[in-house]
Subunit: 223 residues, 2 copies
C-alpha cells in the first residue's frame, strides 16, 4: 500500500535501510517530543541521512509519519507464521485480513465475526509497538484538523469500510435491518472502544467488546 | 462545584477579578501554545498576577485548567434567561440540568429524552467558546495518561453518570433490558458522537445523533 501511494518514492530509488531508519526515527520522535516539535531535520539527524534524502521522497513530515504508520501495519502483517493456514487464522484474528484484500471474515454469523475482529483490535490497541506512536498522532489530530482528517482518510477510514462491507453483507443475508446505514451502525461498537482507548474512560477487555456487539445487534430495549 | 473542590481557594480569600483573569489566561494559553508549554509563570504573566497568587490557590497547572473548565460550564449555565421556565427549558436543552442536580429529563420517553440531550451536546461541541480549549485538553489527555484520567474523573464521568441514572430509571420502567449494564450502554450513543468530534470521522448533526439513539435502543438486527 505504501509503495503505491502518490507521495511514496519508488522503492527502487532508495535504500531500504534508509527508508526504515527514517520511519523509525519519525515514529520515535513523535512519541518523545510530540508532533509539533518533530521536524524533517530532526528525523534526518536521528536516521543518519541528509534532510534532502527525506525531502526528495516526501513532501512533509505528515507524509513521512502517515507512511511510517502504514509500514508499521504491514510489518505486523508480514510477521505472521509461515504456515498459510496459521497465517490466515492470525490475520483474521488480528483484523488485518483487509490489508491483504480479504476484509472482515464472513462466516455467516455476524456477531461471531464482529467479536473476533474487535478482540483483535483490543490486542492491537494494547500492543506497545503501536500504542505510543498511535497516541501521538491521534492527539495531534484532535487539535490539528488538517492532520486529523488526513489521518482518518489514510489510516482509519479504510479500516472502517471493512465493517461497512461486512454489515452490507449481513443486510443482504437479512441479519441487519434494511433501513440501517452501515457507516453509522459500525460506530456503535467501534467508537466506544476508540473512546475508551483515547480518553481512558474505562477498561478495554474482550468481555467489554463482546458486550458492545450484543448491545449493538440486539438493542437496549427489550424484545 | 468549583468552590467546593479541595484545590479551590475559598472565594472570600481571592479577588473574583484575579480568578477570572487566571482562568481566561490558562484557557487561552492551552489553546495557543498547547498544554506542555503552558506554565504557571505564563498564566500569571498573561493574567497580570504574581505567580505566587496562583501557587497559593492551586497546586499545578492541571488544577488551574480543570477548574477553569468547570467554571466555563458554570458560566454557560448562569448565562440563561431569567424566566425560570425558560431557564429550565434551556438547561434541559443544553444538557446542563445535571449540573444543577436535576439530571437528564425523564419524561417517560427514553428515546425522546436521549435525543434532546444529545442534540444539546451537538450544540455544545460546536460552541466556539468550548471547542478550542476542550480540544487542547482532550489532545493532551490522549498522550498524558495521568491528566487524561483526571480530566475524565472530574469533567466527563460526572456527565456520563447522568446517562447511567436515566438508563437505570428506564430499566425500572421496563424500557431497557434488565441485563444491560447502563455504564456500557450509554457508550453506544455517547462514544460515536465523541469520536466524530475528536477525530473528524464524520459530520455532527441532529439527524446523526437521532439515528444513534434509534440504533442503540432498537438494535441493528431485525425485530
Amino acid at each position: 500500500m505504501a509503495s503505491n501511494s502518490p507521495t511514496s518514492p519508488d522503492s527502487t530509488r532508495r535504500s531500504e535501510r534508509s527508508r526504515r531508519a527514517i520511519y523509525d526515527a519519525a515514529l520515535a520522535l513523535v512519541v518523545e517530543i510530540g508532533y509539533p516539535k518533530t521536524t524533517i531535520e530532526g528525523i534526518a539527524a536521528r536516521a543518519g541521512v541528509g534532510k534532502q534524502t527525506i525531502y526528495r521522497w516526501w513532501g512533509s513530515k505528515a507524509d513521512v509519519l502517515l507512511e511510517a504508520f502504514l509500514d508499521l501495519s504491514e510489518q505486523a502483517a508480514r510477521a505472521v507464521p509461515q504456515e498459510p493456514e496459521e497465517r490466515e487464522e492470525r490475520e483474521e484474528r488480528e483484523g488485518r485480513a483487509g490489508e491483504e484484500g480479504q476484509g472482515i471474515p464472513d462466516t455467516g454469523n455476524l456477531a461471531a465475526d464482529l467479536r473476533l475482529v474487535l478482540r483483535a483490535t483490543v490486542d492491537e490497541l494494547r500492543d506497545p509497538r503501536f500504542e505510543a506512536p498511535s497516541r501521538a498522532l491521534a492527539a495531534e489530530g484532535v487539535v490539528n484538523e488538517e492532520l486529523g482528517r488526513r489521518f482518518v482518510a489514510k489510516l482509519l477510514e479504510p479500516q472502517l469500510q471493512l465493517y461497512v462491507d461486512r454489515l452490507r453483507s449481513a443486510q443482504e443475508a437479512g441479519q441487519v435491518r434494511p433501513d440501517v446505514d452501515p457507516r453509522i451502525a459500525l460506530e456503535l461498537f467501534v467508537s466506544p472502544l476508540a473512546q475508551r482507548w483515547l480518553q481512558y474512560t474505562g477498561p478495554i477487555t474482550y468481555a467489554y467488546t463482546d458486550t458492545l456487539v450484543d448491545y449493538a445487534l440486539n438493542g437496549l430495549s427489550p424484545r
